[in-house]
Amino acid sequence: MLNVVPVEDNMFASDVIANPYAYYGRLRDTDPVHWNETYALWVITRYDDLVWLTRHHELFSSAVFRNDPRPAYPAIDEADNPLYDYVRSYQGDQFIQHDRPEHLEMRRVMHSYFTPKSMEAWRPFVRDAVKELLDAAEAKGEMDVMRDLATPLPVLVIAQMMGVPPSERPYVRQLAEKLLYIGRGEYDRMKPLTEGMRGMIDYVSPMVDERIDNPGDDFISVLAQGEKRGIFSRHQVLVNTSLLLLAGHETTINLLCNGTLAFTRHPDQWELFKQDPEGRAKAATEECLRYDSPVISIQRIATEDVEMRGKVLRKSDRIRWFISPANRDPDAFPDPDTFDIERHPNQHVAFGSGTHHCLGATLARVEGQEVFKALAERFPNLRAQTEGLDYQPSITFRSLKALPVTWD
């Protein structure tokens, strides 16, 4: 018998990947707490539900990989099940895959490194890096924003924080690309994913060994201190170093590309922005975060039976909350599908909410502000080749494959 997936429940369908706003927006407006039969999980799409859910962490566990014994979804090759076991043990050691009280203890090790005040100190480094990358692009006369700006910039910044030497940054990016298979649907994705995980562990191991003995002011030393204080095991230090290397750039890449695309598709907003890039950079970056959010959705597991909008989510049910439609919810944002760089207030949920609110939010903001500002100042008539744009087949990340731009 043919196993036919109902179109309306296929989150990996090409039209859903190309435009998640139509599909998840329809769910938000007609069935905001939706049971997706195909993947056996709840799909949450309203803004107020997302905020409520993320702030009730005791009802919705983040320890997804340890609390969910069910097989991978979408299905994988059965021969790859041992690889999936490795993925579960690897992911399970990430601090974001923990609940309180462990999550709080782990987060506190790193939290003060990422405060708005400490991240502000990185702004000059970010600005110089942007300048260098745009100098190179200008000399070439064209640029793929993804390849030439959005990818190298955050990799450069997070590598600097971690003390990764410049010559090794391309290798780190190569490993990171394999780790991105986590949010994707390919039947044979376990092999590249686990290669990325094992590769990262092998790569960061000697660095961690070194920082345990000779701590510096870099971020790996911060994590190494967590091991000395008995909060992290060695494997957790390794996994979380890899996590920060990945999380520290993948999502920012999407902010930079999706934001640049939004600007080039809305010339009136680009004109408005160019009148005062310095003064408008903050509000404009928030609107980029809301309008085409870097992260599409994140998963939880119900810790008990919970009622939402008349439906009962059973204990241990899988729940995915969707940032993209929540940030376009007409009950939370007037004219939600309009890209408005002066929008105020703009309490979007691009970084989630609650105790798991994105650790790197301020860094992402600084990078977004500096990039959009520099683009407006240096390439005032920037145009994107917007025909035939392609997105990665992921329900986690809203990632373009490329974004070629030109200017006069």
């Binding site: 702030r55 003060s112 405060t115 708005p116 005040k117 909410s353 609650g354 609110h357 939010a361």
Partner: protein
């Protein structure tokens, strides 16, 4: 004698990260919306309250000298 502080949380900004409550549990508590509110601005030292404010990931906590109105954070 320690100076008196005026401390409040901007609910247009607070995301309920709850790090302030972890740093200064007697000063901050979560309301019904799981946003932070000030329970008692005298229940911790000025240094601890400023540490809580600095650790807010969205800078939602405002600290002032209650008598002079001087802004201490952000």
């Amino acid at each position: 004698m320690a100076r008196k502080l005026k401390v409040w949380v901007d609910h247009q900004v607070c995301v309920g990260n709850a790090m302030c409550e972890a740093v200064a549990p007697k000063v901050f508590r979560l309301d019904d919306n799981r946003q932070s509110e000030v329970a008692d601005p005298t229940a911790a030292s000025e240094a601890t309250i400023l540490e809580a404010a600095e650790n807010c990931p969205v800078s939602a906590i405002v600290v002032e000298d209650a008598e002079t109105g001087e802004r201490l954070f952000p």
